[in-house]
Point group: D2
Chain length 277, copies 4
């Protein structure tokens, strides 16, 4: 099975890069499932029904979120009726948060793929333990038995926590991939137990920016400590950033993991095409 995961889509520039490049990439790589992190899709902060729809139309099968899940208040009700939207799964018991933190999807060909989203704790707002929550979700649909593929989006700041999550899931997930830092890492690898791993998928954003945002205001705040305006997404051409994974159909473990980067300022990298396009 071939699938791909794309990192945080930032604002219009990010959405437009998805619209422009994803249909080609999906076809070229013969992808059976596509996951996109959408926590910054709406003006850089959260996701709305409209911005989600643009991503679905471009070829996303499922959208994950993060610490910005609810920046657009409508997401709190939209998620109730949209099972393709996955929010972090490690809220505390009293949160009574709407939506799902994990879902088992069925692809067109009948494959089942489990997708979950977890918030890291290091340098992040506090949440309940993501390791325990992921553990429970992994046990709910074991890879190779119930699920044909399992994807863990670990939305976290610290590389240490993300790498630890990779090892924690190794052998139980097809892919553990980080999001949130908005910069792709160059460490795609298959871990010893067979799980594909990359510390961060990178943002679908304009890279002449500060993590996808117009650089003027962040620079002002870093140097003067006094803000003047809201952050707004940078509007130059964005780079589609993600990870391509191929799994063994029997075990669900990864046989191949490679970065995808297309458009904008970053150097283009695509898995060698396996199919005629």
């Amino acid at each position: 099975m071939r699938f791909a995961f794309f990192g945080d889509v930032v604002g219009r520039a990010g959405r437009d890069a998805v619209s422009e490049h994803l249909p080609f990439v999906r076809r070229a790589l013969d992808l059976e499932f596509v996951i996109v992190n959408a926590e910054n899709a709406a003006s850089g902060f959260g996701v709305s029904e409209n911005t989600a729809n643009q991503l679905f139309e471009a070829g996303a099968d499922c959208l994950t979120l993060g610490n910005h899940s609810w920046d657009q208040k409508e997401a709190l009700t939209y998620i109730v009726r949209e099972p393709r939207l996955i929010r972090p799964l490690n809220y505390p018991p009293l949160a009574d948060v709407p939506g799902r933190g994990v879902n088992l999807f069925e692809t067109a060909s009948g494959k089942r793929i489990l997708v979950m989203n977890a918030l890291g704790l290091v340098h992040m707002a506090s949440m309940d333990d993501p390791f325990a929550a992921v553990d429970k979700a992994l046990e709910s649909a074991p890879l190779g038995l119930v699920a044909d593929a399992v994807v863990v989006d670990i939305h976290a700041e610290a590389t240490s926590e993300k790498m630890a999550m990779g090892h924690f899931c190794d052998g139980r997930a097809s892919l553990v991939v980080g999001t949130h830092t908005h910069v792709p890492t160059a460490d795609a690898q298959i871990l010893p137990g067979g799980t594909a791993y990359q510390t961060d998928a990178g943002a679908c954003a304009d890279y002449d920016s500060v993590i996808g945002m117009d650089k003027e205001e962040p620079l002002r705040r870093f140097t003067t400590r006094i803000g003047k305006e809201r952050y707004k997404p940078a509007s130059g051409p964005a780079t589609l950033c993600g990870v391509f994974v191929e799994t063994d159909d029997k075990t669900g473990l990864a046989t191949r993991v490679e970065p995808i980067r297309l458009g904008g300022r970053l150097k283009t990298v695509l898995p060698e095409l396996q199919v005629s396009v």
Copy 2:
């Protein structure tokens, strides 16, 4: 001018990767200057005279540090007599910290290269403003006038702060490169003003690990919150991780920036060789 910067060397595995691969890389890429971040060279924590010497012998011309500068107490006296060791430059005025945070080196061919090391503030222990400190250091030896090349090692956690530092120095430095997260990023680019930039050089470390450390103890702490042993560096084959830069001899600005990754678990990436080896 061609030079390279390599990220945090972690323990013996990291040092051995430097010893094994750097001589070849230096020759193959015809490097005139080599900078290595050594803050984790000694057992993963700090640098000692012995571990520094191993890196110098492998071909490093200059070593930068970070938040772990003084984990080995001998570094506080060693740095006084070793001008090739550069510690963070943004200590507060009362610190009276030994050593230098910036230095102007002369290469064999008589080129002058300014190297500085700054600690970020976001999610890090507090220090004085790195932007103001870097600004002052940049003014001390302007690129293209006094310095033939200027390298800023921004040792920081947050991608936002590192990208902001890139833009802050854009046009005034040959390279702004991040260290500290121990994972290479895939965003090498030349910024609009001519400064080469990569968010993190990546660690020279075993990548079957948690940021270069044996994974057992970090996993225990993440899942149980109770530590049992000290962290120790992972001991599998390490990947040499860094950035190659070529500059315009007149302006000192970058004409080329490319990642270098060699050995260990990560996929090998080398700039196309320019010289016969």
Copy 3:
């Protein structure tokens, strides 16, 4: 019912203040139960069997802990056989931490008092939600039905989180009292629902110090950012710091809450004595 709670005992000076003053205070205030936070009892870091015994001998019926619970490794086994030692209750499910986070004690006269210890999240190492964990513990032995008194030690940095915990438990606990900051607050009050509250009990420590520690090393680190020695507890005369509570025997709610401070540098404050001594 009359009981008292005393905050973080720091090192020998703190233990000696407990030994010197607690017997008198217990007798003078006719206390039926005494709780002492012991997370810094052993050389300022953690608790050992010996240091716990000194506090029990001085009149403590129960000891609570905090973020320093396991600084002395022996505490991990000691707590298994010592039911009077209470560690934080909001560890994540995978922690499998030894000991108890809540316990129902019986006093000499047959009263039942529920004592729990929770770690805050704001500016603290991450733990699972303390509000959910406290909620569950409160439901396990409802005040006025199962428990004659309920005491919540909220070991936290932020005043906001502690005040929020007070209101969260209001009407369900006899006392919510903070620990961890090592400075007594002057805000003892009975909340609208009948729960006694004080943001921090204060440390049993020498107040010519930095939160109970000899001031030289903290001052060095604050001004220079480079440590030289381990922290060691200050050794001047310590102040016994705590909170006195009287409850309604039927409801278990508080009818009186007053600070206790005795010895050392802080001004002596004692509830007006109710009994002849």
Copy 4:
């Protein structure tokens, strides 16, 4: 010389408590100078010209600020023409922040009192070193030589940093007092070198709240992690919270330090009146 310092005034309730109680307190204690922290005076966030004027009219001679200094944008221009408004003094050099971080005031009787405001670093947004900045300000008008009294408002979260600042200034200031946590501490003392010290002055606020804010929204956020509304100041009767200091006229060092708490839910504490009222 007798003066007083009052902690963070929160919203209308806080301002009204100042208006109601400060005139009496000023007269009763024969205060020659009154300093009030006003960083939360305007709807809980920042200060405006109108809210500042209410405090000046009630008897404040000088207002200090904190991390909320600029929440009301008008404060950035207001401070330029109002020398009685003191903002934090440890901004980095590139900040070019308006206003003053320290000022030497003259009282009606011709006494000179130096007032400064510094932001702590622990668990706070990053700023340049407050110890170095305070050191420089202290040297600018030495106590007993240039200044008859020196007051340091250390606006900080951590008790450790505040106590360290107390010792750092001991013998060079009349009073070091903390603000920011919005809860008064019960540790007023004269340090060995003669400086009066209290870790936090406490807020002038309604204490049936979460640090002066209406408790509903903070409780929601703590338990569910999802916000619904803005914070708004609690509107019940507020407690005037501060510190009274008497100094030796020759040395400027403290001879007396006592808490002031009046009105609202906290127990009234006033220095024994020295003058007939």
